[in-house]
């Protein structure tokens, strides 16, 4: 009886081995492909964030000169920004709580090693003589510089 049972089960170890192998291969292969994809995405994201961080810390710029004059009775502020860093930057300005250019999604691009006149800032109210204007220039990467200008 026992011998007969053993004889009947003779094929099952092979099948079980095949099933076990197939299971290990399919699960293992699945994990392999998944982990490869996940780790590729993770490493790419990490590298990209590091590149962004590198560009952020590489930004170097100054407000080189500021002057103020009336054009057709409108007070205009002229701001000159020099990008002395190695990466191109995009900037906006903030004067007396108002940001420029007027369109919120508009940024002024300044290539590396270039000084540009910021588009003329039309002040809404005429500043008083000797009034101090705090000019803030900030970049898309959230770096900023300040300049204190005294109206003549």
């Amino acid at each position: 009886m026992k011998t007969e049972r053993l004889k009947k089960k003779a094929i099952s170890p092979v099948i079980s081995a095949l099933i076990l192998t197939a299971t290990v291969l399919s699960i293992g292969g699945g994990i392999w492909f998944y982990s490869q994809g996940a780790m590729t995405i993770t490493s790419e994201d990490y590298a990209e964030s590091m590149i962004n961080m590198t560009e952020t810390i590489s930004e170097r710029f100054i407000i080189e000169h500021v002057y103020y004059k009336y054009v057709d009775s409108v007070p205009e502020l002229h701001v000159f920004v020099y990008n002395y860093g190695t990466v191109d930057i995009e900037v906006r300005a903030e004067v007396k709580g108002k940001t420029y250019p007027d369109a919120e999604d508009e940024w002024i691009e300044i290539p590396s090693k270039v000084m540009i006149p910021f588009p003329t800032i039309d002040l809404e109210t005429t500043p008083l003589s000797k009034e101090e204007l705090n000019i803030k220039i900030y970049t898309r990467r959230d770096n900023n510089v300040y300049y204190r200008y005294q109206v003549p």
Partner: protein, 233 residues
């Protein structure tokens, strides 16, 4: 028999599982770590480069001199002297709100270099401030405002700046300035001292250590051409 067979199958699965695990380590995990490490290395390198760049910017030291042009008294001659240890490139010049684009390399320790003669819109009584910008983003300003008058370019004061760098000995040095106005002061090495005078004329600077005279120089200062005299001893 069946016991040996089961062990054998378990062994095969274990080996395959291990191979897959090792495969994941070598084809996914290690490359990911390498990419991350490389990104970190690039970031650190850039950080060091920027720190060096900022340090170079800090030690940039240009002196700006302004006086009327001898051949054309309407214009201003701008000169610079690089007193730093590194070459500096002057990229822009501002005379009040007038901009001049420049591209001049100023090597260190090569004396005064002429940037040129510049014509600006002149208004009687207006003070003109001159500043230059280097490619490292540092701005240097001429210390004394220069005014356009009916007599030409003038400065309200004459001044003498004294820096003791090379004289032997340590401790305090005595500065003795004689001329239309006189001054006496004590100073130390590498300490910049500035003296201003309202009277132009011939001034003599003497530097003593104790009672020993170490250095003496004489120069005539006037409002037009030589309002600022820098003495390096």
């Amino acid at each position: 028999m069946s016991i040996i067979g089961t062990k054998c199958h378990k062994g095969t699965s274990t080996i395959m599982g291990t191979l897959i695990f090792v495969g994941i380590i070598f084809t996914a995990f290690i490359p990911m770590m390498l990419v991350m490490k490389q990104a970190d290395t690039i970031y650190d390198m850039r950080k060091h480069e920027l720190a060096r760049f900022d340090e170079e910017r800090d030690i940039e030291n240009l002196y700006v001199y302004v006086h009327e042009t001898v051949t054309n008294p309407l214009e201003l001659t701008i000169e610079v002297e690089n007193k730093g240890d590194l070459s500096a490139k002057v990229v822009s010049l501002w005379i009040n709100d007038d901009f001049f684009d420049l591209n001049q390399l100023i090597p260190p320790m090569t004396g005064i270099k002429n940037l040129g003669s510049f014509n600006v819109i002149r208004e009687i009584g207006m003070e003109y401030i001159v500043m230059v910008t280097t490619d490292r983003g540092k701005i240097f300003v001429f210390d004394i405002p220069i005014t356009w008058t009916i007599n030409g370019w003038e400065t309200p004061i004459v001044s003498i700046e004294i820096l003791i760098e090379h004289l032997q000995g340590s401790g305090e040095f005595k500065i003795d300035i004689t001329g239309p106005e006189c001054r006496e002061a004590m100073t130390q090495k590498n300490e910049l001292r500035c003296f201003t005078f309202t009277l132009p004329g011939a001034y003599t600077v003497k530097i003593f250590r104790g009672s020993q005279l170490l250095h003496t120089e004489t120069k005539t200062l006037d409002f037009q051409n030589k309002p600022l005299w820098r003495v390096f001893a």
